[in-house]
C-alpha cells in the first residue's frame, strides 16, 4: 500500500499548480479525493482508503494539463487521468495515490464541420450531450456504450471502448479521428492517422493513434479530440426473438451476423442463465412461458428504406430458424433499455433466494463465434463453484454480442452480482482467483481477455503477458521510453516491470 504524501509536499504541489489552474481547480478536501478513489467495478470497500489520491486537479486546457504533468515529473508524484470514472478495469483508480487529473472541465464543442462531418471537442464531454447538439444538424456521433449517458470522450480514448452499435459504425478507435495529448513528460503532441486532424486513413509513419488509445492513461492524457460524424439515422429497427433452446438461438445469432445486411448494427445472444435471471425481476420476462430458454436480438440503423429492407431480411432469417418474435413492445422497449439494464438492478439473490444488495461485475472477453458455447459452459461452471463456496456472489447470466459486421467475434459477457458490503479479504481473493480462471478460459480458446474495458484488474492482469506474448515486451519498452519516471498511472498493466526499481512509489 502506498503511503499518503507528506502534507508539506502536498502544499508544495498546490503552490506549483494553483497559480496556473486557479485555486478553485485544485482540490484537497476529503470529499473531492474520496469520490475519485473508485470506479463502479465492485471491490472490497474496507480497502477504500488505500487508493485515495493526495490531491485532485481540474485543468481547463491542454497547456494546463501539460503544466500539471511537468510538476508531477519534477516531484516524482504519480498522476492518474480520470474522465467519467465509469471504467470497469480500475483504470481511473489512483492505486499509488498522487494527483488525479479530472478532465471533465474540458467539455466544450470547439468546432462542428458540417462539410467534412467532424466535431472537435474537449475530452470531458459525454456522447449524449454532444449528440443533443449534433441532432440540430441531423448528425450523430455514434459511439454508444451501455455507459452512454455517463462515460466521456477522454475515457473512451483511454480504454479504446466498445460500442453497442459498433457493427454498423465502428468502435471508439474508428470514430475518433485524432487528438491532442500530453505525454508523460509534459510534451504536447498531436496523434491521428498521419498528420491531418480530419484524416480517416493515412499510411504516413507509424500508426500511433492505436497506440495512444486503450492504454488506460499509462501513456498520457488526451485533451481535445476530432470525431467522425454520421447522419442521424432516419430509422431504427430492433427485434427480440425467443427460442426453446440455446443451440437454435446460437445458430440464429450467427446467421443474422453473417447475413451481410448493410444496416446491421449488432446482434445479441442471451443464454439460459440470462433468461433465468431476467425472469426474476424484469417485467418483460417475468410473464414469459417456461419454454423460453434463450433470446436473440438484432438491430439496424440507417435510412428508412434500407432499414426496412434489412429488417425484413432479419425477420425472415429468424423465422426460418423457428424463432418466435416477441412483439414490438418488448423489442423496442428492451433495446431502448440498453444503457441501464446491466448495472441498475443493484440486487441479486443469495443461495436461499433471499434478495441482497449487489453490485454489477462484468467480464468482457472477445471470443470467436465457434467457441461461444464452450466458453459459456466453462465460465458458468467457474462462477457456480465460486457461488457455492461464498454466498455473496450471484450468476446473472451471459450475453454474446457481435463486435463486427461479419460475426467473427463477440463481446462475451458474464454478469456477476457481488454483495460488495460483505466482501472481505477471503471472498475477494476467491473472486480474484475466479477472474483469473475466467481469463484463462478466454485465452485457451484463442480469445482476448477484454473486448471493451481493458484488462488491468487483479486476476486478469496476471495473464496479459501470456495473451500478448512478445507484444508485452514491446509495451514495456514503449512505457519506459515515454515515461522515464513512471509517473503516468503507475501500477497498471504490470508496467512497473519496465523499471529497475519495480514497485517503488513512482
Amino acid at each position: 500500500m502506498t503511503a499518503v504524501l507528506e502534507a508539506s509536499i502536498v502544499e508544495q504541489l498546490v503552490a506549483a499548480i494553483a497559480p496556473v489552474l486557479g485555486e478553485a481547480n485544485v482540490l484537497t478536501s476529503k470529499t473531492a479525493r474520496y469520490s475519485r478513489a473508485r470506479v463502479p467495478a465492485p471491490f472490497p470497500v474496507h480497502r477504500w482508503a488505500e487508493r485515495v489520491p493526495d490531491l485532485v486537479v481540474l485543468p481547463g486546457s491542454t497547456e494546463e494539463v501539460a503544466h500539471v504533468v511537468r510538476v508531477a515529473n519534477e516531484f516524482g508524484v504519480p498522476i492518474v487521468p480520470r474522465d467519467g470514472g465509469t471504467g470497469l478495469t480500475d483504470g481511473a483508480v489512483p492505486e499509488r495515490r498522487g494527483i488525479v487529473v479530472d478532465v471533465k472541465r474540458m467539455n466544450l464543442i470547439h468546432e462542428i464541420d458540417l462539410e467534412n462531418r467532424t466535431a472537435t471537442v474537449g475530452v470531458g464531454i459525454s456522447m449524449l450531450k454532444l449528440n443533443e447538439v449534433l441532432a440540430q444538424h441531423g448528425l450523430i456521433y455514434p459511439d454508444n456504450p451501455a455507459s452512454y449517458p455517463c462515460s466521456l470522450v477522454g475515457g473512451r480514448i483511454g480504454t479504446s471502448g466498445w460500442s453497442l452499435i459498433g457493427s454498423r459504425y465502428g468502435h471508439s478507435r474508428d470514430l475518433v479521428l485524432s487528438f491532442d495529448m500530453v505525454t508523460p513528460t509534459g510534451d504536447i503532441i498531436f496523434v491521428g492517422d498521419g498528420g491531418g486532424r480530419k484524416i480517416s486513413k493515412s499510411s504516413s509513419g507509424y500508426q500511433l493513434k492505436h497506440l495512444f488509445m486503450g492504454h488506460q492513461g499509462t501513456l498520457g492524457i488526451a485533451t481535445t479530440a476530432t470525431l467522425k460524424l454520421y447522419p442521424k439515422a432516419e430509422a431504427e429497427f430492433s427485434a427480440f426473438w425467443a427460442f426453446d433452446d440455446y443451440d437454435v438461438a446460437y445458430k440464429a445469432v450467427g446467421a443474422l451476423a453473417r447475413a451481410g445486411i448493410a444496416t446491421f448494427a449488432g446482434a445479441v445472444l442471451f443464454d439460459e442463465k440470462k433468461v433465468e435471471y431476467l425472469r426474476r425481476d424484469d417485467e418483460a420476462y417475468i410473464p414469459q412461458p417456461e419454454s423460453v430458454k434463450a433470446l436473440v436480438c438484432s438491430v439496424g440503423y440507417g435510412n428508412s428504406d434500407e432499414v426496412a429492407a434489412g429488417g425484413r431480411r432479419m425477420m425472415r432469417i429468424a423465422r426460418d430458424l423457428g424463432a418466435r418474435y416477441m412483439g414490438d413492445e418488448i423489442s423496442q422497449g428492451d433495446w431502448a433499455s440498453r444503457h441501464d439494464r446491466y448495472a441498475t438492478p443493484v440486487h441479486g439473490r443469495t443461495l436461499s433466494g433471499q434478495v441482497a444488495l449487489m453490485s454489477w461485475h462484468c467480464e468482457d472477453a472477445a471470443i470467436n463465434y465457434t467457441d461461444l458455447p464452450a466458453v459459456t459452459r466453462e465460465w458458468h461452471a467457474i462462477v457456480e463453484k465460486l457461488r457455492r463456496k461464498h454466498d455473496v456472489f450471484d450468476d446473472w447470466g451471459m450475453f454474446a454480442y457481435t463486435s463486427s459486421d461479419t460475426g467473427v467475434d463477440y463481446l462475451t459477457e458474464i454478469d456477476i452480482g457481488i454483495w460488495e458490503e460483505k466482501l472481505d479479504d477471503t471472498t475477494w481473493a476467491a473472486f480474484v482467483d475466479a477472474k483469473r480462471e475466467i481469463a484463462a478460459v478466454s485465452l485457451k480458446y484463442g480469445g482476448s481477455i477484454s473486448a471493451c474495458h481493458g484488462s488491468c484488474r487483479e486476476g486478469e492482469v496476471d495473464l496479459v503477458p501470456q495473451e500478448l506474448g512478445g507484444g508485452y515486451d514491446v509495451m514495456l519498452a514503449v512505457k519506459r521510453a515515454l515515461d522515464p519516471n513512471n509517473i503516468m498511472n503507475p501500477g497498471k498493466y504490470g508496467l512497473d516491470r519496465a523499471y529497475d526499481n519495480e514497485g517503488d512509489r513512482r
Binding site: 432516419e234 429497427f237 417485467e283 440503423y301 425484413r312 425477420m315 433466494g353 434478495v355
Partner: protein, 85 residues
C-alpha cells in the same frame, strides 16, 4: 381530506402471485415477492402515486432514447406480416 388521500396512497391493492418469486399489485407492474426481502434488505414504504410515477417515467425515458438515436422506429410486427404478403 388530506388524511383520506394519505390513507388511500398508502394502501396498496391486493397482490396477485405471478410467478413463485413475483407479485403484481398494479396492472403490468411486477414486484419481487416481499417474502424474499426479509433477511437482508429493508423495504421502503412507498405511496401508490410514486410507483405509478416511476413506471410512467420509464416509458418517457424509453421514448426519449428512441428519438435520441433515430427519427423513427420500424415495426417488426409489420415486417413479419409483410413476409407473408
Amino acid at each position: 381530506m388530506t388524511s383520506f388521500r394519505y390513507q388511500d396512497e398508502y394502501t396498496t391493492p391486493p397482490a396477485r402471485q405471478i410467478t413463485p418469486t413475483t407479485i403484481e399489485r398494479f396492472e403490468h407492474v411486477f414486484e419481487v415477492d416481499p417474502s424474499l426481502m426479509t433477511d437482508n434488505v429493508a423495504q421502503q414504504v412507498f405511496p401508490n402515486w410514486d410507483t405509478k410515477r416511476i413506471v410512467a417515467a420509464r416509458w418517457d425515458h424509453l421514448a426519449w432514447i428512441h428519438t435520441h438515436f433515430a427519427d423513427s422506429v420500424i415495426s417488426g410486427e409489420e415486417l413479419l406480416r409483410s413476409l407473408d404478403d
